[in-house]
Subunit: 123 residues, 2 copies
Amino acid sequence: MEEESDHLCLCCLRGIMPTISKKWAICIISELGRRPSMRFSEIMKDCGEISPKSLADVLKDLQDTGLIQRIAYSEVPPRVEYSLTDHGRDLRVAIGPLLKWAKQHNQLYMSYRKPELAHAPDI
Amino acid sequence: MEEESDHLCLCCLRGIMPTISKKWAICIISELGRRPSMRFSEIMKDCGEISPKSLADVLKDLQDTGLIQRIAYSEVPPRVEYSLTDHGRDLRVAIGPLLKWAKQHNQLYMSYRKPELAHAPDI
DNA sequence: CCGTATCCAGCGGGATACTG
DNA sequence: CAGTATCCCGCTGGATACGG
C-alpha cells in the first residue's frame, strides 16, 4: 500500500501556472509582500512598464485565485488597497528557492523592473 | 552599506520564466528527474496529450537554456536520450516547495498528465 | 485616482501529414 | 524512431482613449 500524502502532484501546479506564469504576477506578489498594502498606482510605478489594462488583468486574476485581497474605500478621490492573502504569502515563500536558483544561475536575460529596483531585496 | 549577496532578484527569474512557464516544461523536468534518461517517445507517452511538435519545441527550449542534455546515438533506428543537467536537477529541487504549496492549496483545476500518473510521486 | 473599452500584434501550442 | 513542415486558433499583453 502506497503512502501518497507526501507525494507532490504536478496537476496541482498546473492549476496555478496560468496565473503565476503571467508576465507580472510574481513581480507583483513579491513587491506586495514587502509592504502591508499597496495602491494601484504604486504597483504600476514599481513595475515600471506595465499598462493599466495589463495590471488590471493580472490583479483580477490574482484576486480570483485568492492570492491577493482588494479593499476599496468609498472616498473621493477613490482609494483602493491591495495586499497579499495568507495564501499569497505562502506562495511568496514557496517561490523563494526558485528565485534563489534563478539568481545563482544568473539567468539574467532581461529585466522588467525599473533599474533602481533591479537590485533591491525581494524577500 | 547594504549586503546584497543574499538578496533575490526578480529580473533573474524573469529570464527563466519564458522557459519554465511553458505548458509542459515543469512536467518534463520532473519526469526526467525520476530516471537517468528518457527517449523522445517515452516522454511523449508520460505527458499523455502532447503533440510531437510541442514536445520538440519545449525540449529544444530546455536544451538551449541548459536544463536538459540531448545525446543522439548514430544507430538505425535512431536513438536519442534526454537527461537533466546539474542545472536542471537544481531547478527540480527549487520548484519542490512550489509543487508542495500547489498541492496544499489544492489548485486542482485541470490535469495534463495521464490519469495513471496523476497521483504518482513527482519528487 | 482607478480603472474600463477597444483594437491589435505576437506567440504558444494543438492537429495533421510527412521524412531521414 | 525522432522528429519537421504547415496551418490555424486563442490567449497574452501592449497602446491608446475614455469613464465614474
